[in-house]
Point group: C2
Chain length 257, copies 2
């Protein structure tokens, strides 16, 4: 199933950007009057009829909207320190989107080797991963933020977890499995998966912090605990930053789906 992406929508009129138009008209040779499927990045699948393929921006009329298409019954924010090797973080973005994530926050930690992160490539990767894995919602990626700034103010009803490797005085960390096992599983019926807004407070809101290669500093871990983050570990295996981050996404998906 071929999907296009557009956020240029007015009523039932939809326009593809130049790149999507090229792919739709030049590569796939779609013609006026043909049916195409477009995701709006907000969770809606739009069934459209092409009304104009002339020029650099094709136009289509929306004939059907499917809300929360390809959604999941939780809202997951992954706050992860980008890896020194950018490919590893971009790989995480693609895989996390395929499995099911809603928001990515690039964190800059005290021990981060990468202090600067540009999000434009990340957005492209997330759009194509969403299209490839048949999800109408494209995960949001925030601009990078320091751990300290990130920790300022959270909704009280979110489950907040922080993973780190060093041992606390009295090891405070619990297995992520034990923490997840304590959560109620929401109704995963189609109805739930297709609720208009997958990020509605009706679905559990989970935020997980993953540190850089050098791990979070004890001060950062302490600040996170003070902000209501439960310290967790992922068992005996020692995982790279991007592997740990994807494992956390898998664990949440596995629990709720």
């Amino acid at each position: 199933m071929e999907l296009f992406y557009s956020q240029d929508i007015e009523g039932t009129l939809l326009r593809l950007d130049e790149e999507e138009t090229r792919h739709c008209v030049k590569v796939l040779r779609h013609r006026t009057g043909e049916e195409i499927f477009v995701i709006d990045g907000q969770g809606r699948l739009l069934k459209c009829i092409l009304t104009s393929t002339a020029g650099s921006r094709a136009q289509a009329e929306i004939v059907e909207r499917t809300p929360s298409w390809g959604g999941h019954p939780y809202h997951l924010t992954m706050a992860v320190c980008p890896t020194k090797n950018n490919e590893r973080f971009e790989w995480f973005l693609e895989k996390a989107c395929e499995i099911g994530v809603d928001r990515i926050v690039p964190l800059i930690g005290e021990h981060s080797e990468r202090k600067v992160y540009k999000t434009d490539r990340a957005r492209k990767i997330l759009v194509s991963a969403a299209k490839q894995s048949l999800k109408a919602a494209v995960p949001v990626i925030d601009e990078p933020v320091s751990v300290k700034a990130f920790l300022k103010g959270f909704e009280s009803d979110s489950l907040r977890l922080i993973a780190y490797c060093f041992e606390d005085e009295t090891d405070l960390r619990r297995s992520i499995n034990d923490v997840l096992a304590g959560l109620p599983k929401p109704d995963t019926s189609e109805a739930t998966l297709h609720k208009p807004d997958a990020s509605a407070s009706a679905v559990p809101d989970i935020i997980i912090m993953i540190g850089p290669e050098g791990d979070f500093s004890p001060e950062e871990a302490h600040a996170a605990r003070a902000a209501g983050f439960l310290p967790v570990h992922f068992g005996p295996s020692r995982m790279r930053t991007e592997t740990a981050a994807l494992f956390a996404v898998s664990a949440v998906y596995q629990h709720f789906v």
Copy 2:
């Protein structure tokens, strides 16, 4: 913690190959009399004292052996069709090793775009992933085998799962979570993790088949079911081959650890 890898062991005498010697002596500048740690790839961590750094192959004396170091309380075989893009499969190898896998079988399916797979690069990737993630056992990688050949004869006590995307007549597939939830969790105490042979029949033996981009054929799925493989699905998300394979490894690790 810096680890070296060697399988050249006679009694308490251990030799590093040329590449490991170069890294140990030229790069890290270790000298005779110094302590190094070596994994034997079979699950043992070897504490050694360098006895010779001259020439192209350093020698060391083994002073301490730790069995099943960095092990996990299950034995997992992932039989996965290599992806058309080899990087994606190699990425899976590294991540699966980090999380915890014991054996990889490159499968050639009817719908495989990649009919040929060379395992020498894979072995290097698995060795470095094992060293990087502090595991003394390097996952074994078999030579590629066709799905039909792979399905000939299995130990009766292994849990065998096959994941595919097409819907059976009467959809036979169960959620991998439901299947895993039915399994007893072994004792994950240090004692268990450190049992001399992590692949001993005392730990659960699990085999999971993951198809190519084009999925398994219905005939292959049928043959697998006839060979005692339970059909499973991974929930609503549509994952690429390598993502599905890593998700399965994560799910098994999450269940047992």
